[in-house]
Symmetry: C2
Subunit: 362 residues, 2 copies
């Protein structure tokens, strides 16, 4: 009989955590037992897994005793504190927070793009940023077929990237706006920041905190995660990347306008790009302008797939192209990509912490 | 005593038309008499000009008898039919529709950028597309100080670009969505198109109809209008431009994420760019990341100014930069720019149709 796994979900009550439960229910992973972990505030709540009630427990280091696999999405500081404890206890962790993504000991994985990076994990595997994942999904088939030299991306990111509280805030603001009442912002653009601004019927060109160079941390993530995923080196100059990240009044599913240059000397047609993309798992080409077919958040929300369209050459720069890519930021951008990494770990029989690995995170 | 002008506003009841009335009320143009023109459907309505009631009249060729200046925003087919009639009757027309913009006999003018193009008008002056205008406002001071070689723009365009009916549709959809009812789209993305999609809590990567090359006509406009305004030639290769235009669920004020390259060999700092922009009339630099200061539609709506922020160098391409620009698409993007053109025509004593000019539009 195939091995079955004890799986813990850390941050189980959040927007991503609840979807991790659903995605795990629907996954190919044989689950022997599931532990739903959260902060003390949520402990005692009852959720369900495959129809059975499961009580949420407070996450402590000892929560990971006997656990094989952890799916974590409880915030960077929680992962920083608890995942080394989980690894020490022999649990392999898939972390959806940004905390370990740039650690050289931690693979950063989109399973369709760089699954082999899993082979040498040290107990923690990082799930990339939602905006990065969907861009990788659209561009990896291009890179494989025609090379990739440069990316310039502008994002249209949904409120849910900042959690369920941001979705609630967007809807409350929209209700107030439509009733001619003042809008009250307390969450966006960044929880705990000095200023909050309404997102409803507005645009916020700030996602995450600002770096000293004027880029936001979200933009920084898109630049360096792209390089680490595609090139194995977060600072590689082989693909140039720049990004502008903007929050838009959409609850779920990010849009991205991506300009890119393929390898020197290559000038594939839009049809050749579409053909390359059509064969890529998890990527759906929705690109029929004559019939007004193109990706929209309202259609992508709830799907594991990434949708790409508006594929067309830059008319003045040979080898350069524009496209538009949309995906559910909570599924392929977070919960599904994490569960997919776990499936791949199971399929490769990699659900064990190598000897000596735990010390790397101490 | 200074000359006073008889001014007609064509399309006076629309989202832009009503704002043309307001902007004309607040302008420096000495108005002797105002005629408010619209379709037969709106004829008979009463609007006000400087506190006085004015009855809306049906627009016909003879409506322009005795008129000095026309501000038009009633749709391309109406301008196509009526503005040559107005010019024939001696009226100088500022047209907010796209119909005449690419005509070599028609100057396409942003007064802060290329006012001298007015000097040789033939009775019709075109007001550029809203998305183009605000991008010109942000980039013209850059071009003057450091040159400009390339623009890659992604837009975040408000519903009102498609008129008052699109604002109403967005708000109705939002109400339905929040009440868990299905959303009904009948206007966006393009009036009269085969398919309509909801904009509320969604993104529509289609503005205007598609060209055969996969670009929308809106994207085509941004490319060719930029070249005509900055270089005097709609096909000039001297500045490369590519665009992706997306409608976002915002009622008023467009956002744009703009990547650009300055002249070869120039590598101004972000501070030098900000300094160049700060001195440009009508452009307000809102760029203080440490204090979360950046342009937002909610703040720009209702202002004549264009707001620019998030100015920062591309970290891997010397001489390339990103910025974020926001402006009220109905004011600087339409009504105010049109009235501003009219003010400039008055200031330059150009409110007369040159002999023989009318035939150019017959």
């Amino acid at each position: 009989m195939a091995k079955a796994y004890v799986v813990a979900i850390l941050g189980a009550t959040g927007a991503v955590g609840t979807r991790m439960i659903e995605q795990l229910e629907q996954s190919t992973i044989p689950v022997k037992e599931v532990h739903l972990l959260a902060s003390s505030r949520s402990a005692g709540k009852t959720l369900t897994f495959k129809g059975q009630p499961v009580t949420v427990e407070e996450a402590t280091p000892d929560s990971f005793n006997g656990v094989d696999l952890v799916l974590a999405s409880a915030g960077g500081s929680v992962s920083a504190k608890l995942l080394p404890e989980a690894v020490k206890r022999g649990a392999v962790c898939v972390d959806n927070t940004s905390h370990f993504r740039m650690d050289d000991n931690v693979p950063l994985v989109v399973p369709e793009v760089n699954p082999d990076a899993l082979n040498h994990h040290n107990g923690i595997i990082a799930d990339p940023n939602c905006s990065t994942i969907q861009m990788m999904m659209a561009l990896e088939p291009v890179r494989r077929a025609f090379g990739l030299r440069r990316i310039i991306v502008s994002t249209y990111q949904a409120a849910s990237g900042a959690g369920q509280s941001a979705i609630n805030e967007l809807e409350d603001e929209a209700r107030d706006y439509l009733a001619d009442k003042p809008m009250n912002a307390a969450v966006l653009p960044v929880k705990g920041a000095e200023h909050h601004y309404p997102l409803a019927f507005n645009l916020l060109p700030q996602i995450d905190v600002f770096e000293e160079d004027g880029y936001t941390h979200e933009e920084w993530k898109m630049i360096h995660e792209t390089k680490k995923i595609m090139l194995g080196d977060k600072n590689s100059p082989a693909i140039k990347v720049t990004a502008t990240c903007v929050r838009v009044p959409v609850p779920i599913a990010h849009g991205e306008s991506v300009w890119f240059e393929v390898g020197a000397g290559n000038t594939p047609s839009a049809d050749e790009l579409r053909a390359a993309m059509s064969g890529f798992p998890g990527l759906v080409v929705q690109d029929d302008p004559a019939n007004q077919v193109y990706p929209q958040p309202i259609n992508a929300a709830g799907s594991r797939d990434t949708f790409v369209g508006r594929i067309r050459p830059d008319q003045e720069t040979p080898g350069a192209y524009n496209l538009w890519v949309v995906s559910d930021n909570l599924l392929k951008g977070a919960a599904w990509n994490a569960v997919q990494i776990a499936e791949e770990l199971v399929a490769r029989d990699l659900v064990h912490v190598p000897a000596g690995a735990a010390e790397k995170f101490m």
